[in-house]
Assembly symmetry: C2
Homo-oligomer: 314 residues x 2
């Protein structure tokens, strides 16, 4: 399997037009649950993943092999993968931070992984204990070994727009880091607005900067957080720039509506509402998804941050 | 003063481009507070309006002359206008439902009014005790007398995209109702998505339908509710279609973050965050606005639904 040949659309839409179809990369079970205060029981996670697949989601990031000391919410990764009822046609990538994580993922028999890099020096230091330049030496053996085992590898890139310590992040710096991850053999680069500060013009400019550097929008995905209410607007902007894979989290998991600073992911339901209205295919049954997120909100003991879930299941 | 010559931009941007400047029609003190459960004391309202003007907002819908039986939250309209400290360069339109309301507004010395119509039969019956066709006979003397007194009149049109009883609303029906309001002499038509269901394609199509009927985007404003999380994305879409007046509510007033179905207005802060990032001028000092909404949230005893307010003032 060659690089960048997983999950790409057959055709790239012309500038300004929406794609006919969008692949939703559902991160609720991983990025969502790892940022929830409560640790969700294994059986609930398994039911959650099953219901998400039944609702039509086909890419379900299942868990993470980050050390349990850092992410106790996902300490049950091996048990989850052992018991996971994989649905036909669905993919279950897992997050892998390093070679130790890859060893665990391979032992668990995963079919696809994702690595995560940083677009800034400070976050590379804090999140990876590495550096903006040095981080690629960490990823090289992970991606190389995974590819040698036949696993497609996605790359996340954090802090692509703003960084809490460094402020606005220069597009050239993001493009350089992103290209290095793709050059290692990752098939797709997910551009993360980790602190949710981006606005639509920045999104357009960054995607254009990647195109200028030879990275087509079809190799990119977007990953927006709704901290400043911009996630959906930014996502639709990216779609009009040729991106057709969007990360989102069922029910907006990962951001608590009662927290002083809500930093959740774009809610999958709010995205699907928009795309349904725009006639863009996602394959998702919104009613089944809303019911799933309402059930999960009940398990978590608090309302969903998704506006659509609150409107339809309230 | 001729029709449609208040608050319009000097130039209309070409299709797809954002305007250089956006006029924010701040509805927090009227549409926001009339939908809050608590009745806010007069002194708090006066301080709110003063702080909003100090933050740079120049169109502040101040109150409503709907009968206090229907909107007890704004029963103090006369007292508010008597005590209001009007800032230079700011406009303070008030909502007027009928001739009795106009009498009260004129007696209170208002300089500008707004009327509100319905794009659907059912809502005309329920909200106006009239009908889709019959409602214009109610507005004609209100607009005529106000114009004769030299007052500019704005028109709101509710349920322009979806109606809870009738479902999707045909664009031709919305255009017909909107044109009749403009033909009465209203200078601007604010297209309301009262139940927050619209998506971006509908917004484009409705604005195009108005253009086909001879109503330019410069005569339109947009008024989105965030019930399904679409308000900002829809607003940016409208701006790219040539609209340059946007209704929003400071702090997202009018929608409670704890309610099962949050139906608030687009938060002015979330709009300003987007427009600041896009380099579109609004004249608003975001920090001053966030401080005002945080203070008002304290008066109301609950967090602001605005994501920006929660992020910056949390």
């Amino acid at each position: 399997m060659g690089a960048r040949d997983v999950g790409l659309p057959a055709t790239v839409p012309s500038a300004g037009e929406l794609p006919a179809e969008v692949t939703i990369w559902e991160v609720g079970a991983r990025d969502g649950l790892q940022n929830e205060q409560s640790v969700v029981p294994l059986e609930v996670k398994l039911e959650f993943l099953g219901r998400l697949a039944d609702a039509g989601l086909t890419v379900l990031e299942a868990t993470s092999f980050v050390h349990p000391k850092w992410v106790p919410q996902l300490a049950d990764a091996e048990a989850l993968l052992a018991k996971l009822d994989r649905r036909d046609g669905a993919r279950y990538p897992v997050l892998v931070p390093n070679e130790r994580g890859l060893d665990r993922a391979l032992a668990a028999g995963v079919g696809e992984i994702a690595v995560f890099g940083s677009a800034t020096q400070t976050f590379a230091e804090r999140n990876l204990n590495s550096g903006l330049t040095e981080q690629f030496a960490l990823f090289e053996p992970v991606v190389g070994r995974a590819r040698a085992e036949g696993l497609p590898v996605r790359a996340y890139l954090s802090m692509c727009f703003g960084d809490p310590w460094e402020g606005p992040v220069p597009a050239a710096q993001v493009v350089d880091a992103g290209r290095r991850l793709l050059d290692l053999g990752c098939f797709q680069l997910s551009l993360g607005d980790t602190i949710g500060v981006a606005t639509a013009g920045q999104v357009e400019r960054l995607i254009a900067a990647f195109a200028d550097a030879g990275v087509p929008a079809s190799a990119l995905a977007v990953h927006f957080h709704d901290t400043y209410g911009q996630a959906l607007a930014n996502t639709l902007t990216a779609l009009r720039c040729g991106v057709s894979t969007v990360d989102s989290s069922a029910g907006g998991l990962g951001g608590c509506p009662y927290a002083e600073s809500a930093t959740g992911n774009l809610a999958t339901e709010d995205l699907v509402w928009a795309l349904d209205g725009l006639g863009v295919r996602t394959g998702v049954d919104l009613d089944a998804l809303v019911a799933t997120s309402a059930w999960m909100a009940g398990c978590l003991g608090r309302p969903s941050p998704s506006r659509v879930v609150r409107a339809l299941a309230g």
